[in-house]
Symmetry: C2
Subunit: 260 residues, 2 copies
């Protein structure tokens, strides 16, 4: 990985907000591996997907929340944080962007809805190698001990190699002690979805309102899926891309000339 | 395409909001081709990407905005609209979901940020064939005459064929008269990005704030990209998928055993 100073520059963001234990554990895990700068949302942004803020302006403030690590909170989405970091905060392009550690799973179809992974993807679009980390425990009190070990190991390895500028990984970590972890497995995104089941309620004025809830359904039987790896107590690593073209369908449509 | 009644059921949504000319032109273009139900946001949701609403409840109200076409507005994002339609509004699974017609381009990397395309993708995840339509004219007064013709032609063709349940297209239409349109071209997503350039201002209290702006940069020289087709006065059609796995990088990582 090219470095313009001795230490690699590592941008850290998340979607749970700048005060969440996940991002503090992420900083602790990699602090010694480079110069870390944190740019993260001031309020929770879970489920924001790849949202950007275009109808209102953004604010950012320097914070003293990570000891001697430079940190900024912004009023924006996770993707806005990466954009602000690149354009307004960092003096050079970071060598690596890390997002998380998310409180909760981002395997399979969750990659689409996840603010954590959208921030990582935005960095990848910018040409910054990037990794999103998620622990399968959504609680504030989640134990990040094993996650910190995994993050440190993976980031050390990556910083020692020459990797492509669009290198992008979605890493999920099972909620078990380090001694029970069986390893790190490269996977594909499992084919899965949520079956919606809105919870209908009535407000004190007699008007209906709806809470989004849903049941996770995994249709994927493949042994190289992230869901399978996590069930088997492996850390799942899915390489991700931002080219959404369905090349198989493209070839079919060209062949049958559907719109000719 | 399987039909459980005589007429195909067509779900229509967008991201500009339920009052925008784009969605009214979309309804007008396909009304005669099936039973249309509109479920769309009550306020603009451009740039919302694949955001879902999980921290607050949703509202929905039946509206009389499309003559004899059933229509609902919701307080949610475009993706929420599709979820509410499937779980709470429609009595059966739609045969097709159409999103748009967006006021403004959603070619190339815009597919990632676009609420229009995220709604279409959500339908595809649900197993509903889906198309997002965008006109390369962001103005409220945009002329949708040629777009209506293109939409009607494409939807008629698709309804006459057997297509896969995850069939998903990103269609962009150049802002020119029908007589100048050269045809419909199947494309790949151009490799492009926005170079951020936040506009820094100072509020009356002396505090800084930032507006997101950016310059579109197309790195793609391929002749089968959507940006190229649009420049050449074609309607661009990019088949899209929600499996974001980078299989090439997966094979590389498996081969070099980076995390072993």
């Amino acid at each position: 990985m090219p470095k313009t100073s001795n230490k690699p520059l590592i941008l850290i963001t998340n979607d749970d907000d700048i005060t969440s234990p996940g991002i503090h554990n992420l900083v602790a895990a990699v602090k010694e591996l480079g110069k870390v700068v944190v740019v993260a949302p001031e309020k929770p942004q879970s489920g924001m997907g790849h949202a950007i803020t275009i109808g209102e302006p953004l604010r950012m403030n320097k914070m003293n929340l990570f000891g001697d690590v430079e940190a900024w909170q912004t009023s924006g989405t996770p993707v806005d944080c990466v954009k602000l970091a690149v354009d307004k905060i960092l003096r050079r392009k970071p060598d690596l962007c890390l997002s998380g550690i998310n409180h909760g799973a981002n395997h399979s179809i969750n990659v689409i809805y996840s603010g954590t992974m959208s921030a990582a993807m935005e960095a990848s679009i910018e040409g910054i190698p990037s990794i999103g980390f998620s622990l399968l425990d959504y609680r504030y009190e989640a134990d990040f001990t094993a996650s910190k070990y995994v993050v440190h190991k993976m980031v050390s390895r990556i910083l020692s190699k020459k990797i492509s500028k669009h290198f992008l990984l979605n890493v999920n970590i099972p909620p078990i002690p380090l001694s029970e972890l069986r390893g790190i497995k490269v996977c594909k995104q499992a084919y899965a979805k949520y079956e919606e089941d809105f919870d209908e309620r009535v407000d004190p004025q007699g008007k209906k309102y709806y809470w989004l809830t849903g049941k996770f359904v995994n249709f994927d039987k493949a042994r190289d899926s992230d869901v399978y790896a996590l069930q088997k107590k492996y850390v799942s690593v899915v390489p991700v891309q931002f080219d959404l073209t369905n090349y198989k369908l493209k070839a079919e449509l060209e062949k049958n000339n559907l719109f000719g």
